[in-house]
């Protein structure tokens, strides 16, 4: 069997005296959607930041397709093919939609930014995404929550990533748009993309995820197969009411 797209082993991350992540393991395979769940402050967003290179891990090993890699800054993650939609979106407020989508990956023509081509591709990307198309030439600061989310998601899908990290991507979307986003995610998954999805909504997770990884107080608290596990079992792992029998069975 091919090695997982991404594997974390014993990842630790501290912020001062706070141990945000303790010996966390995680595997994401190509063509698989892994939901990451946990209570507030369980370390979900920290884990995303570790994988995306925003805050490098203090200890632990990260393997990309079986090969040990170091992700020390966002650039490293991007080079591997990891794209991220952050919870706060992390857009540049003063740039327009096109500028944000292509930031750091601009298209040039004779050494000059090719605004026309970038605008065309942005519109095309947003069109296939189908979440609605905001004014791509207005500063992002002037856009609504949904529109900003659209920009952030479009940005993450540019350049065909291998692994997509989505930190609460549905937060400001309406039901129709969530359904539409899930269609897109499923389509990408079927194309061999790996997805890590953070969500609070158990319904969403049941609808889209293949595996559910639970974090509790910065530690692993089980990995479950969505199709064979009841919602109650997952919830009790999230709040710490269950023992870890299931986890022992499926993590290996």
């Amino acid at each position: 069997m091919a090695p997982p797209l991404l594997a974390l082993r014993g990842v630790c991350k501290r912020y001062g005296a706070v141990r945000a992540l303790v010996d966390v393991d995680l595997e994401i395979r190509a063509g698989e959607v892994v939901a990451l769940v946990g209570e507030n402050a369980a370390g979900k967003s920290t884990l995303v930041k570790v994988i995306s290179g925003v805050d490098a891990a203090d200890r632990g090993m990260i393997a990309w397709q079986g090969r040990t890699v170091r992700i020390g800054r966002p650039y490293d993650a991007q080079t591997l093919g990891i794209a991220t939609v952050y919870q706060d979106l992390s857009l540049c407020e003063n740039l327009d939609g096109v500028g944000n989508v292509f930031l750091g990956r601009e298209i040039h023509r004779l050494g000059i930014l090719d605004e026309v081509e970038m605008e065309r591709r942005t519109l095309e990307l947003m069109d296939t995404l189908g979440l609605g198309t905001p004014d791509v030439r207005a500063p992002v600061a002037s856009l609504s929550g949904v529109q900003r989310q659209t920009v952030a998601i479009s940005r993450s899908l540019l350049g065909e990533p291998r692994l997509l990290l989505l930190d609460e991507p549905t937060a400001s979307l309406g039901l129709d748009q969530i359904a539409r986003l899930f269609d897109v995610i499923e389509h990408l998954r079927d194309g061999g993309l790996g997805v890590l999805l953070i969500s609070h909504n158990m319904g969403d997770i049941k609808a889209i995820a293949d595996q559910v990884a639970v974090l509790r107080l910065g530690r692993n608290n089980g990995v479950f197969d969505v199709n064979t596990t009841s919602q109650e079992q997952i919830t009790s792992a999230v709040i710490g009411a269950s023992d870890n029998a299931m986890a022992h069975r499926t993590t290996m």
């Binding site: 966002p74 857009l91 540049c92 003063n94 930031l103 040039h108 000059i112 026309v116 605008e119």
Partner: protein
Amino acid sequence: MAVSGPGTPGTVRSTGPPAGGPVPAGARRIKAYADVVWRRLRPGERSALPVVLGLVVVWAVFQSQNGNFLSPRNLSNISVDLVSTGMIAAGLIFVLVIGEIDLSVGSLSGLAGAVYAALNVSHGVPEWLAVLLALASGAAAGALQGFFVARARVPSYAITLAGLLAWNGLMLYLLSPTGTIDINDNGFVASLTDHYFSDVWVAYGLATLGTAGYVLTAHLRVRRRKAAGVPHQPLTEIWVRAALLAGLAFTAAWMLNRFQGVPLALLIFLIVVAGLDYVLRRTSYGRMVIALGGKGEGARRAGIDVLRVRVSVFMMSGTLAAVGGLFMTSRLVSASQATGSDGQVLINAVAAAVLGGTSLFGGRGTIWSALFGVLVIESIASGMALLGAGQPLQFVITGGVLFVAVVIDSLLHHPPARNRA
């Protein structure tokens, strides 16, 4: 009543009072036109609008006090005087756009002049090498400051405040044997500000070239956008802009020709401004600089090498401060201990940048609007000199202009209503 104007129907946002209000139709019509113009302006142009109006006011006031103010000779002199401050302001804008400040630019400009004069005149170093070393001193000093701001995250005002004094000290030391070094008045640096292209066709040729260049690139852009199926400017807008540009360029050319023609210094400045404007708006590097000025982590999370961009921006500001220093030295035909050490140069450069619509809060700024900013600043300086105002009044006025500029910037950035909790 429907708002009428030359815009696209249906997209005109009615900002006037509700229909039936006690506003005469004529006033409403003017407002409608103003509204259309406003919507057609790019954000950078909008923030430059106050300074253009300010320039008109300043010119009108001084002309009414002294009929020589708008004479070809005086305007031509202003156009040469503004180059040194303008160069410094152009570099400073890069630093302001990333949300930092460089308080050392005045001292650095003085230092560059001293390095050039000391090497060339006192030590017999060839002029081209002395110029290069002067520019290198600015670049190195800027890079040093930038490194500490970017790496150690020392606030830039603190680092460059230290720089302000230290570079000033270095300049005083270099000039200490005599206090002032007269430069070779037949040399390259001296010719920077005393050479004019007196052939009238140079001025008109440049005006034609500028206008034609604009029309051509604008049309090519529209054609490409049409072909790609993305929205484009209406052609009328291009022609209106071209007409305005031509009007401005040919008036300036005509005015300059009535004195001694196009000053070399002004030509170099315009080329540098156009080049830097291009860098900031049309290259990946410029995009990174602007992204860095956005609040938050967006730029870093987009994979941008934040450290390198920060350092490079301070290097840019140091280098352009040195360029400005050489023009200052050229204008004075000497490097003197007084140059750049009284804070006037720094304040003028900051005021020019902020007047031109560059925000002290970062993320917003255009290079070419500094042209208007510096024009206002130098017009005020020239007008007050013409009226014989003493230094006390000049200081108060310059300080007052900076004060007003930063207050306007603040209000635009944080509208007072939002500040109320």
